[in-house]
Structures are given as structure tokens and as C-alpha cells.
């Protein structure tokens, strides 16, 4: 920002994934270094920012954490449209959440920004005894689909900073055509094509 003279590269990032996989916890770990066993459920969406130095530049993440439940699906496009990056989260101790994650990836490929950096995060990696989704399976899926993949634990902090760092590294260096915020100005066209999410 102007005051510090450092050149921040803004990067809009959205978290998607089934409820309870640890999206909010991952953000909280990354932004504040905290973790709560009983993280309050997210209703609607929540916004956070955090900067991260990568080589000679500094990425400034503008993060939208979404409610994960399927019923809230209709609100999600507003947050992933125009996003430069997405983290799709599943819970390694829950196979269904992995299935849901794959659906999110498909949706992002179809409707998201084509240059979007997509990361797949297998969260709750600390729950080794209850592991249901093997890392190799997720890794293969990620490779086939051009995703970044990491196992993370918001609880122990394992992989969390690495995840954001890897994303920052892959962000286009400068992206003048890409507005860093969500494309809400583009409402006029959306109004015509879509009634499936909030528009006026």
C-alpha cells in the first residue's frame, strides 16, 4: 500500500468445501494463528485479509470464507467469480467430503475464472487414526486435474502456511485485467442470464 511503499499484489481467494471440513479454521490459522475446537458455524460468508511475502513481492490475500452446506450453494458463485484462487477443502476423515470437493472443482472449472489457481486441501491431517481418504488418491486426482494438493491441519498448523505460499507462488505476477474484487459491477449481464443466485 502507498503508505509502506511495498508493492502488494492483491489476490482474491475463496474457500469452498462441505460444512465442517475446516474452512473457517484454516483461515483463522492462517490469518490469526489461532484454532478453536468449537469454531462457530459460518452463516453466509466472512471476509479476511492476510499478506504473505513471496520472493521479492508480497501477495495480499483477500479471502472469502463461505458457508459449506449444500443449501447455501446458490450464494457461492458470487464469491468465486473473479477469484484468482480457490482452496477446495475436504476432511481426510470423511469420504463424502472428498466427493463433494471434486464437485466443487468441476464447478470451478466450468464457471470460475479460467486462470484460477485451485488448491485441494485435505484438512484434519492430524486425525490419522480416522483417515478415510488416502493422500495418494487425492494426489492423483489433483495431478490429473491440475490442482495444487496438500494435506493440512488447522489444528496443528501443518501445511497451512505452505498451502497459501504455494498458491501465492502460482499467482500470475501481475494481472491488470483481473479486478481483485468480486465482479458485482457486471450485474447487468448477470441479471439476464441468472436467477440462481442473488441478483436484483
Amino acid at each position: 500500500m502507498a503508505t509502506t511503499g511495498i508493492n502488494y499484489i492483491p489476490a482474491k481467494l475463496v474457500l469452498l468445501g462441505e460444512m465442517g471440513t475446516g474452512k473457517s479454521s484454516l483461515v483463522l490459522r492462517f490469518v490469526k494463528g489461532q484454532f478453536f475446537d468449537y469454531q462457530e458455524s459460518t452463516i453466509g460468508a466472512a471476509f479476511f485479509t492476510q499478506t504473505l511475502a513471496v520472493n521479492e513481492t508480497t501477495a495480499k490475500f483477500e479471502i472469502w470464507d463461505t458457508a459449506g452446506q449444500e443449501r447455501y450453494h446458490s450464494l457461492a458463485p458470487m464469491y468465486y467469480r473473479g477469484a484468482a484462487a480457490a482452496i477446495v477443502v475436504y476432511d481426510i476423515s470423511n469420504t463424502d467430503s472428498f466427493t463433494r470437493a471434486k464437485k466443487w472443482v468441476e464447478e470451478l472449472r466450468q464457471h470460475g475464472n479460467p486462470n484460477m489457481v485451485i488448491a485441494l486441501a485435505g484438512n484434519k491431517a492430524d486425525l490419522v487414526d480416522n483417515k478415510q481418504v488416502e493422500a495418494e488418491v487425492a494426489q492423483t486426482y489433483a495431478q490429473d486435474n491440475g490442482l495444487l494438493f496438500l494435506e493440512t491441519s488447522a489444528k496443528t498448523a501443518q501445511g497451512v502456511n505452505e498451502l497459501f505460499l504455494e498458491i501465492a507462488r502460482r499467482l500470475p505476477k501481475a494481472n491488470p485485467t483481473q479486478p481483485s474484487r468480486m465482479i458485482v459491477v457486471d450485474r447487468s449481464s448477470e441479471r439476464l442470464v441468472s436467477t440462481s443466485y442473488y441478483c436484483c
Partner: protein
Amino acid sequence: MDRKRTGVDDFEPGPIPSPRPVDRFGFVKQDQNNSSEGLTKSKPLIDKEREERRARKWRKMIGIGGSDWKHYVRRKPLVVKRRIRKGIPDCLRGLVWQLISGSRDLLLMNAGVYEQLVIYETSASELDIIRDISRTFPSHVFFQQRHGPGQRSLYNVLKAYSVYDRNVGYVQGMGFLAGLLLLYMSEEDAFWLLVALLKGAVHAPMEGLYLVGLPLVQQYLSQFEQLVKEQLPKLGQHFMQEMINPSMYASQWFITVFTYSFPFPLALRIWDVFLFEGVKIVFKVGLALLRYCENELVKLPFEKLINALRYFPQDALNPDVLLPLAYSIKVSKRLEVLTIEYGKRNGELSQPTESRNEQVEVTKQSRK
């Protein structure tokens, strides 16, 4: 209601959390924001006396067990409205809520139904509910203990509702409504109050907030955006420039009726009015918050703005400051027009925001 049988009782209750100081409403005290402290701290004696005097007036008004209530409302609706706007005495809140929401009648007409739903039916939403149970009011003593009585009741009410109306099932956010109710009444009473709200016993049904596509959320947000533009044009303009739309800050206001991340004393006062007057108070309070902070908000860029819309200053959240401002904002007529317009644009799927005149038969029809 009998709280022994629950769907989660294969688990032993967790340890009772070590006693920490709680505020007058049972929330664990936090250092600063989000606690109800500061607003209720050390009530002066005069306030206490005034509270007692008000409770006496209310007792007289409602009669024993609420027996005089209907009669009184019919005779003096404006007196009732005025008294409710000043806040229902906390000791009578649970009872009065059941009277004004119409839930008491539902309960009486449907003896045994709740128990049936809790004990014999299974729900596709059970896993989702369990996942959210310990994440609903995690800082309240009643809901803190794992598998303790608070969590069990919450589970039962939500499960029962998800069976009662399988189209709605369980949707994140409903837990905060149920949680709030459970602090003031039994499980069964809380369940019927949820039914009264979602099915529309007295006011327009709220279930559209939770149905697939969240149609009523979309409608209310669109109407709210329009009202901001009309009533706070400077701020509306600023929101447009900064690409803020109400879905980013107000969806949880509607989905949880201010029970999510708002100070509890404020939420209660809003609910007093909400149950009597309907959803328009949510619009009014939302607009009042924006108006109170307008001069600050119009100066802020996107990022700070989003934060300011989430964490309002303490003084703005004081019910005795915010609510009078909210009451002074007129929305009813405009809302009616906007509802009709919205309906036309969206194929008449929208729902009225105004109270209904006739009492609706809300029971049984949604069960097989």
C-alpha cells in the same frame, strides 16, 4: 418436555466446563466485543425497580399462564405493541413469546406430536445437525458441555424440525434460532415456536429463508438493497462504488434474525418485536445500523467497510439507542410495493412480507 431420550445419547456427556464468569444471560465473559457486558453491567437500583414494576404490569396484562392475553391484545393492540417495543420483561419472555407467536396454540392442538418426531422418526439431516451442535453458541454455558442437556435439546429440536418438514430439513443458521428459544422455554415449546415461524402461524412464513435456492433470502436482500438506496442514498452510492452488496453483510441478519454474532441483549429485544410485528423489524434494524454509522461508513474503502459492517461499534449495538432509531424508520408500505415488484420480476414466487390476516392451519400438512 422429557429430556432423557435423545438421538445422541450413545455418547457420554463431556466434562462440565470449569466454571468461568458468565454474564447475566449465561454467556462466558470475553474481554471485549461480542459480550453483552457493558450494556448490562451493574444495573443501577432504579433500573431494577423499574424492571420489577414493568413485570408487574405485564403479569396483569397477560393473566395467569397467559389466560388474559388474547383478550387484552384484541382490546388494546397499540398498548401491547408499545410495551413490547420497550422490551418484554426477561422473566416473562419465554411465555410471552409463545403467546405472541401463536406457538402455544399449535402445541395445544398437537399434543404428542413432538415426542413422536423426536423418538420414532429418523432424519437425513442428522449428521449435519450433529456437526453443528457444538458450534452453535459455543460461548454459552448451556450449550458448552459436550452432549450435555443444552446440546441434547438443541439436537432434538432441530432433528424434530427436519423430520416435520423434510423439504427444509436442517439448514445452517436454524440452530441459532433454536438455541435462542431453548434459553427461554422447553424443547417442545421451542419446536412449536420454530414451526409457527417457518410455517407462518401469525406472520408470513419464513421457510423460504431455508428452502433450496434460499428464495426468501434473495428476495429480502434485493429489497434491502433497494431500501438502502432510497433511504440512505449517499451510502447506497458508496456501496455501489466499492462493490459491496448486501449479501456480503446482511444475509446472516435475515437467516438468523440477528441471533448470529450480535450481542445477546440486542438480539432478545429484536426478537420481542420480531415475533409480534414480523420480519419488517429486521429491515428496520438493518437500516438503523447503517444509518447510525453512515458518516463513518461512507469514508471507508472496501476492506474496512466489510469489517465495519460486521463489527459495529458498541454504542450502535445498544438496544436503547438502536431500537428507537429503528422504530422511526418506516418501511411497511415500500416493502409491500417492492415485494410485488420482486414477484413480477421473478415469476410471482415471492412471499408477502406483511402479516397475514387469517390464522393458517400450519400443522399436519407437511407430514405424511
